[in-house]
């Protein structure tokens, strides 16, 4: 057991530290994954959240020609996600080595996508490029790279053969949908808090459609996971009725699905100014977008080493 100060009482209290948890996990049939969620592991969820909404925001703001949104998208993908990625790595000084195996590893493909996106997106905003004949090519490259970023995140998890809850083609689809809705949510929030030159109404309609469809996707994902064996069932159980249920119901369901729909439906009853309402929808969605990724990653449990009924026929 380690020790830490309880900030409420000022008392020293014992807490299970990493090794205690590891010991405890090894004795369980369903061992939770911790490396990508606990401690510094949370940074990978944060990194994927920012690169997802950043790539989504780039696609929307390119579609609706919203330079402020484009700048924000670059900040999310290269700035916030980049820093979180680096801080997560055990040896960030060797990060360039992750470019070595794009033919095999989804992480490698993701790093390439982020790099190409950074170069193309920044270049496309430079006046010299914007006014040149190369503009459509550079912009097209940035759009392709942003799409690849949305695509790779889900596949990074789906490539984990040891965690059945993640090992489904539905996960990349869910990540793409959440990236797109997160990008739209970011633009709504920006528009509400002073961003100008952006047609919020156009995105609002799409946004609501995406909120509803992601809700359906999550349901599909959970239902199909219950049919993917014991470990995936355990993950679903932890989400809907176990250790992760507060984050799932509060963050993913309430903030991410119920609140945006309720706010949109009660538009007239609330009588709020249009932009404030849209900003609130955007912010609630962003919270939901973070929590859906947090919950999915946290719910990952490993396939049991030894089946619950034993090895051989222990009786």
């Amino acid at each position: 057991m380690g020790e830490r100060i309880d900030w409420r009482t000022g008392e020293t209290m014992a807490f299970p530290d990493r090794l205690d948890l590891q010991r405890q996990d090894l004795s369980q049939v369903y061992r939770p994954q911790r490396e990508w969620i606990d401690g510094r592991g949370l940074l990978i969820v944060i990194a994927h959240f920012f690169s997802g909404i950043g790539a989504g925001a780039w696609l929307w703001s390119t579609l609706y020609d919203f330079p402020m949104g484009q700048a924000l998208a670059i900040g999310c993908v290269i700035g916030l996600s980049g820093v979180a990625h680096m801080a997560f790595l055990g040896r960030w000084d060797r990060f360039w080595r992750m470019l070595r195996r794009p033919h095999q590893s989804w992480i490698s493909r993701g790093i390439w996508s982020i790099g190409i996106f950074g170069l193309a997106a920044v270049a496309s905003m430079l006046p010299a490029v914007r006014d040149s004949a190369a503009a459509p090519v550079v912009l097209g490259l940035s759009v392709l790279a942003a799409t690849a970023i949305l695509l790779y995140e889900g596949f990074v998890y789906a490539a984990s053969r040891a965690i059945p809850f993640w090992r489904t083609r539905l996960l990349p689809v869910l990540y793409i949908a959440y990236g797109l809705r997160g990008g739209a949510a970011l633009l709504l929030a920006v528009a509400a808090f002073g961003g100008s030159g952006f047609d919020v109404r156009a995105v609002e309609v799409i946004k609501l459609w995406v909120v509803v469809s992601t809700a359906v996707l999550i349901l599909l994902y959970l239902v199909s996971s219950t049919r993917s064996g014991g470990a995936a069932r355990e993950s679903v159980a932890q989400l809907v009725a176990g250790r992760i249920s507060p984050a799932f119901y509060g963050g993913t369901v309430l903030a991410g699905i119920v609140a945006p729909i309720a706010l949109a439906l009660s538009r007239d009853a609330l009588g709020l100014p249009e932009l404030v309402l849209l900003g609130a929808i955007g912010l609630a969605s962003l919270v939901g977008d973070f929590y859906v990724k947090y919950c999915i990653v946290k719910a990952g449990v490993y396939v049991p080493l030894v089946a619950a009924e034993g090895v051989g026929s222990p009786g």
Binding site: R97, S160, V303, S313
Partner: protein
């Protein structure tokens, strides 16, 4: 040649000798146990059964850890099938930890010591071989194999529950045991084709 191991669950008495031998051989930090013994119980009193299951890296023929590694740090040797981590290439992304179904990989996060008094000379000497911020795992004691010795865990098992050998040689002891005693792999449905086989406890 495909190096592998057979673990006889009937012979293992769960003494943790292999786990300690491995730690002594490699001088790993607290929390890192390339070879470990898992204990499982089944049934309800008075009809209960307890089993000790020694585990280690399964040196899978189709290793998912190698497949997902973005740097090429995780590799499989073509000459004998040993899966190992080239620490100098590892960035500590832990994708391999997520894809290993057998809990065989350990991220070297905190550089923790065993004793409050700090590192003793033995620890200082052996810890020097381990980098921080990378993933480590069993490599079937490559350094011992080079000297003609078998891995520390099997060499030190007093019950001869861990038997090391070449799975591709039909006349080796490991091949014979798998064939004649009903050897099986853990989680074969995952398609990893482990090079570590188990013999049933109740044969």
């Amino acid at each position: 040649m495909r190096l592998g191991m057979v673990i006889d669950l009937k012979r293992c008495i769960g003494c943790y000798g292999c786990q300690i031998a491995c730690k002594a051989e490699h001088g790993t930090r607290p929390g890192t146990t390339y070879a470990r013994v898992v204990k499982r119980e089944w049934g309800v009193y008075p009809n209960v059964k307890k089993l000790s299951i020694p585990v280690l890296c399964m040196h899978c023929a189709e290793p998912p850890c190698v497949e997902v590694c973005p740097t090429g740090a995780s590799q499989k040797r073509s000459e004998d099938g040993i899966v190992f981590v080239e620490s100098d290439f590892c960035v500590g992304c832990r994708a391999c930890v997520m894809s290993c179904p057998y809990g065989a990989r350990y991220f070297q996060d905190e550089q923790r010591d065993y004793f409050d008094t700090g590192e003793n000379e033995y620890e200082q000497a052996l810890y020097a071989a381990h980098q921080a911020g990378v993933v480590e795992k069993c490599d079937f004691c490559r350094h011992r194999l080079e000297q003609g010795q078998e891995p520390a865990c099997s060499a030190n098992c007093m019950c001869k529950a861990r038997i090391f050998g070449d799975l591709e040689d039909p006349n080796s002891e490991v091949s014979r045991l798998i064939r004649e005693e009903g050897g099986f792999q853990l989680n074969p449905e995952l398609g990893t084709d482990p090079s570590v086989y188990y013999l049933p406890p109740d044969r």
